[in-house]
Symmetry: none
Subunit: 209 residues, 4 copies
Amino acid sequence: MSQQALFRDQGKGLPKRDRTRLALIDSTVEVIALKGMDLAKISDITDHAGLANGTFYNHFADKDEILQEAAQRVAVEMARQIDEQMRSIESAVTRVVVATTRAIRISVGESTWGAVLIGALQHLPPIRGDILQFLRADLQRGVDQGIFDIELDEFFLDQVASLITVSIRTQIETGDDPVKTARTCESILRLCGFSRAKARKAVAAHTPE
Amino acid sequence: MSQQALFRDQGKGLPKRDRTRLALIDSTVEVIALKGMDLAKISDITDHAGLANGTFYNHFADKDEILQEAAQRVAVEMARQIDEQMRSIESAVTRVVVATTRAIRISVGESTWGAVLIGALQHLPPIRGDILQFLRADLQRGVDQGIFDIELDEFFLDQVASLITVSIRTQIETGDDPVKTARTCESILRLCGFSRAKARKAVAAHTPE
Amino acid sequence: MSQQALFRDQGKGLPKRDRTRLALIDSTVEVIALKGMDLAKISDITDHAGLANGTFYNHFADKDEILQEAAQRVAVEMARQIDEQMRSIESAVTRVVVATTRAIRISVGESTWGAVLIGALQHLPPIRGDILQFLRADLQRGVDQGIFDIELDEFFLDQVASLITVSIRTQIETGDDPVKTARTCESILRLCGFSRAKARKAVAAHTPE
Amino acid sequence: MSQQALFRDQGKGLPKRDRTRLALIDSTVEVIALKGMDLAKISDITDHAGLANGTFYNHFADKDEILQEAAQRVAVEMARQIDEQMRSIESAVTRVVVATTRAIRISVGESTWGAVLIGALQHLPPIRGDILQFLRADLQRGVDQGIFDIELDEFFLDQVASLITVSIRTQIETGDDPVKTARTCESILRLCGFSRAKARKAVAAHTPE
DNA sequence: GATGAATGAGTATTCATTCAT
DNA sequence: AATGAATGAATACTCATTCAT
């Protein structure tokens, strides 16, 4: 289920200006997947989009601006897709497992997204904040429900985020691997105070196959 | 216990050629701490070392080579310092706790080292391998002793390494914090199958104060 | 007595094409006053006029063409306004004093015009010629009347023009100053052979207050 | 008596770094003469000097810095050459005539210098200040000697400077013309209160042929 | 070996101009 | 006519690397 050029597709009915803008953002996402955020050059982005280099500056002030927006859109779209499946889920454990599983699956399946997500977590603090707040909300719910025995601070969020990041990075490199995704969920639950057995069981209960 | 210019000092008796080489490596470590691996320029390194920029190429083929060697030396030296305190420790749990604590403490206290270590883990796969093998050895010991209930593969090592990295990065930014170091050790033990209580107890037993 | 948008106003009854053209010229004059001729961009001109940048090329071949025409119109309009007050003046001295005074006053009061005038004198030889010919006519009259003891050639005109330019430039920068205007007139008369006293008297006689 | 590459010649004994620096400054002066200050590009300067474009940045931070320095050196060197001939001159009139004559002659004969001087007077306020202070000193002397009947302020200096500028500009364009130089001196003296006859006599007394 | 000036490929950015709508 | 998105040549500036001294 490749979603190449997602944003460009979203722009079907829109005016040309917006379509080009989305094409540039799409291109940016793809270039980041190929070379990483640091090495992505403006000319890579415009070349990849089949546009003249000057066109970039009709739409964005500089590289930072498009990185920011590209990451934002990826984050928002991922959050939307994940949230869709979670509206009715009340259990914090289930939410954490499902959200983590979905996030990894989307990031890896749509490998361009994973690269952007990882780049944003490392280099774009505001986006990082946006992403972590979803995580925090579900963890907080577990605390409120009395089932997560944790100190829910920045440091803890960073720990959990790093586990998810490792999982995405590994799977992008070595290929989709549901077992690693499951192990990541288990690790997170263990950090939340679950025993190994309980964690495994909770994850198994909410994993597709 | 500053270790500024460690390698240069090691070179006291050596011929001039070697001393210059070590001075460049020292300088590299310090520059990485200031600007990060990506942004460290050759001229930063030579300027910082008080040498002419052309001198660099009498000793290293390119930037990559010196990064590699600088990271290697930091890793080796850290390993040596940590190992010194661990020769007589048999218990895998103790080894993991002490090694993790020492590694974090050295990386943060000697903050130039932490930056290099993090850079190497991200950008220099061979060094990364060297570092992880120490980790693997101690974890393997725990498996052999029957106290770690884990699947000791690359992925697991990556998870543990990411927890250590997060801890170092956070403490470099916000300052030395023994509590975060202890929490990191606990988290690692939990990933190894320890309950929260047991993890906490094991860490407390081996933490200075 | 602001004369903002003078040319646009002139276009009231004209067809739309001409009104757009005049709006662009007005805008050009204003932009030149803000940023100078060199730094005035096409997009500044169209933005300032509230038009699309492409519209520019429906009316002018290039930047030079509009600069030329804008300067031309400013020069012609200034000449018209000055001439209105001079039709009945026969004395060459009076004509020079009144014309200079009026030219400076208009250029400074309507500061957009001064900037264009100065730009044109420096960068647009044909306009420069147009402007200088008015000056030449009045000076020639003085020669014919036997009261100006000068060699009326290009070089002399350049000298006089440079004195007027200095006056306008200074007053645009530091504010309207009738004393400087008077001193400029006196200087011109001195170059024409008047003694200091005679020059001062002649100027005083024809200066409003 | 062409003085092409003056600064480069000055650098004969100097270290290579300084020689290149002077070569760039010389080149800048020559490029300014060819295209004007506004249009002089870094690549023009390096090409003209037979150097790589990157070399420029080993010596100057940006275009402004080299313009400043080139103008400064031209101004200083001109002042030195003029001053050499004026040390023993006490009379303010003679000083003004000789200095003006020399300045114009050097600027025109060494036409690259004139272009730089004019550029500096227009675009580089600090250099402009340096240049005008020489002028001011001699005029002040005339005031002190009771022979110049002027109000010696910025505006007056601007008037005098503009007459000199006009003369240089004209002679660069149409060729060396001692008569124009003499007329310029006369005009300045007239602005200082001299009658036409007295001005002409004073100038004639101090003009070579 | 050390020096440091010179190099030039690489990258970001601007802006006059074109052209399909 | 007007629009404004797209173009790409022009230009400034960076920095790893070379090489003569």
